[in-house]
Amino acid sequence: MSVTALSTHGAMARQPSWLVRLFDYKPFLIVMCLAPAIGLLTVFLTYPLGLGIWLAFTDTTIGRRGTYVGLENFQYLLTDPLWWNAVFYSVVYTGVATFGKFALGFWLALLLNNHFPFKSLLRAIILLPWIVPTVLSALAFWWIYDPQFSIISYLLVDVLHWRSSNIDFLGSPWPARFSLIAANIWRGIPFVAISLLAGLQTISPSLYEAAMLDGASAWQRFRYITFPMMMPILAIVMTFSIIFTFTDFQLVYAITRGGPVNSTHLLATLAFQRGIAGGELGEGAAIAVSMIPFLVFATLFSYFGLARRKWQQGEAND
C-alpha cells in the first residue's frame, strides 16, 4: 500500500497540474461527487413528485395542457364509488397481506434460525420468489387460478374429493380479492423472513441462557426476549412492506386488471387506468396523490422505529 502511495506521490510532484489541484479541492470534489446522484433524483424524482401534485389540481389530459381547477378532481373522487372501492380494497389488501406476510415470515425466520444441514442452500431457495420478476410469477398464479384448469381445484375436487365443483378464483369479487392477497403474501414472505432472520441472529444467546436459568418457558423467551429485541427491525421492515404493498401495482394488473367489475382495483391500478389508459392525467394524478397521506403516516412510523433503535443500542452505535 505504502509503495503505491509513494510512487503516485512522486508522479504528482513532477507534474502538478491545475486540474489535479482542482479535483483535490474539497468543496469542488463534494459538489462533483454529489452532482450525478442529486441531479438524477431531482430531475426524475423530486420534480415529477411536485409536478404530480400540480397535475392533481388541473384538468390535464393526454395531448392537452390543463388549467388549474382547484380541488375539483378530489371533490369528484370523493363522490366516486370506484375510488372508495379502491381505497377500501387497498386498505384491506395492505392490512391482510402485511399481517399474513409477517406472521408467516416471522415463523419462517424462527425456523431458519435453527441448525440443520443445507441451511444456506435452503435460505437461497427461499429467496427465489422475491428474485423472479413479479409479473412473471403473477402469470404463474393466474394460471394456477384458472377457472377450468386450476391445479388447486384439481387437487380439491379430483384428488381429495373435498369439493364437488371447481373454485372460481377470479370470477367473483371476494374470492378474487383473497386470491390476490394470497399471491402477494407468497411473494412477500421471503423478504420478511430473510431480513428478520438477520435480526434474529444479532440477539445475544446469553439473554436466552439467563432466561432459561430463571426458568422461562419457550413462549416467555419469545414474548419477553425475541419479540422486544426484534421490535426495531420489525418496524423498519414493516414500513417498507406497508409502503410497497399499499402502492402495489404489478400483481393486480397482471392477474385481474382490477376486475371482476372493478372490485380488485388498488389505488395504483385505478390511477393507471384513469391516467394512462384513459388519458385523464389530472384525475390519475389526483388518485396517486391521494396515496400520499398514507405513505407519510408509514414513514413517520419508520422514523419512530429508528429513533427507538438508537435509544435501545446507545449512542455509540450509529
Partner: protein, 298 residues
C-alpha cells in the same frame, strides 16, 4: 451489546447446544415439517411454470387422462414458438440493455455520492444521506403519471433510454445506502495514511477505497440489475411499440391475446424471462442476502 453484534455467527452456533430441549420427534414436527411446507408452497409456482412450458397443449387441457403434476410427452414447441414466431429475442436484448445501462449509471452516481457523504464529510452530509433515504420511500406508483409527462417533454417516450434514465430513481437511493454502510466498514486510517503520503482524494477513492469496497459494489450491482430487470410499471407506461418492450411487459401485453390464453407459451415466456435473474442469483446468492439484510439494517 456491541460485542455480541460483532460476532453473531459464532454465538448463534453455540445457541442450539445450550437450548437442547427438543427431542428428535419434536424437532421433526416443529421444524422440518413446517419448513418442508414453506419450501413446497414457495417453490410450487415455479415448478408449475416449468412443467407447463414443456407440456403439449393436449396434456395441458386434459387432467382426466394425464397426471397434471408430470409430463408424459415433453415438447419444446412453446419455446420454439416463443423464440421464432414472436419478438422474444428482441425483448430479451432490450431488457438486458436497459438493466445493464441503468445499473452502470446508478452504480457510478451512488458510489460517488456515498463516498462524498461518508468520507468527504461536510456540514449537512447526514441530511443529504437522509434525503436520499427518503427518496427510496417514494414508490413508483405515485410517480409514473407525472414522469410520463416528463418523459414526453424530453422526447424520450417509447425509447429504452427513458427507462435507463428513470430506473436510477429507485436504484440510486438503495445503492447509496448500501455503499455508505460498506464504506463505513473500511478503516479511515487507511485513507489517512494515503493522505499523509500525499495522495489526492480521487487517487484515494480509486486506489484504496474502491478496491476495498468491491464486495459492496458487487452487491449493489447485482441488486440493481435484478430490480431493473423486474421493473414493470414504468416500462408499461413509457413504452408503446411492441419491439421496444421489456420482457415482463411484453409477455403480459403481447402474448396475452384474445380469450383463449396460450398458457404453454405464456409460461415458457415467464420461465425464460426468469432464468437470467435466477442464474445471476445462483452465482451471487451470498451477495444478495448480505445486501438485502444490510440495506434493512442500515
Amino acid at each position: 451489546m456491541t460485542d455480541t453484534v460483532a460476532q453473531p455467527t459464532a454465538d448463534a452456533k453455540a445457541a442450539p447446544d445450550t437450548m437442547a430441549w427438543d427431542s428428535g420427534l419434536r424437532r421433526l414436527m416443529m421444524i422440518y415439517l413446517p419448513l418442508g411446507c414453506f419450501v413446497l408452497i414457495l417453490l410450487f409456482p415455479f415448478y408449475w411454470m416449468a412443467i407447463t412450458s414443456f407440456k403439449p397443449n393436449a396434456e395441458l387441457m386434459n387432467y382426466k387422462d394425464n397426471n397434471p403434476f408430470w409430463i408424459s410427452s415433453p415438447t419444446l414447441a412453446h419455446i420454439k414458438h416463443l423464440l421464432f414466431n414472436t419478438a422474444y429475442p428482441r425483448w430479451l436484448t432490450t431488457t438486458m440493455l436497459v438493466a445493464v445501462g441503468s445499473t452502470t449509471l446508478s452504480l457510478i452516481a451512488s458510489t460517488l455520492a456515498a463516498y462524498a457523504i461518508e468520507r468527504l464529510r461536510f456540514r449537512g452530509s447526514p441530511y443529504v444521506g437522509l434525503g436520499i433515504y427518503l427518496a427510496y420511500l417514494v414508490p413508483p406508483s405515485i410517480l409514473f403519471i407525472p414522469l410520463a409527462t416528463v418523459v414526453v417533454q424530453f422526447g424520450l417516450f417509447d425509447s429504452p433510454l427513458a427507462l435507463i434514465l428513470v430506473y436510477p430513481t429507485f436504484l440510486v437511493p438503495f445503492c447509496t445506502w448500501l455503499l455508505i454502510g460498506y464504506f463505513k466498514s473500511i478503516p479511515y486510517e487507511l485513507e489517512e495514511c494515503a493522505l499523509v503520503d500525499g495522495a489526492t482524494r480521487l487517487q484515494i477513492l480509486r486506489r484504496i477505497t474502491l478496491p476495498l469496497a468491491v464486495p459492496g459494489l458487487i452487491s449493489a450491482g447485482i441488486f440493481s440489475f435484478t430490480l431493473s430487470w423486474n421493473e414493470f410499471i414504468y416500462a408499461l407506461a413509457f413504452i408503446q411499440s411492441g419491439a421496444n418492450k421489456t420482457v415482463p411487459v411484453a409477455i403480459l401485453t403481447e402474448l396475452v391475446t384474445g380469450d383463449v390464453y396460450q398458457w404453454g407459451a405464456l409460461m415458457a415466456g415467464s420461465l425464460l424471462g426468469s432464468l437470467p435473474v435466477a442464474i445471476f442469483y445462483s452465482l451471487f446468492v451470498d451477495y444478495y442476502v448480505s445486501s438485502l439484510t444490510g440495506a434493512v439494517k442500515e
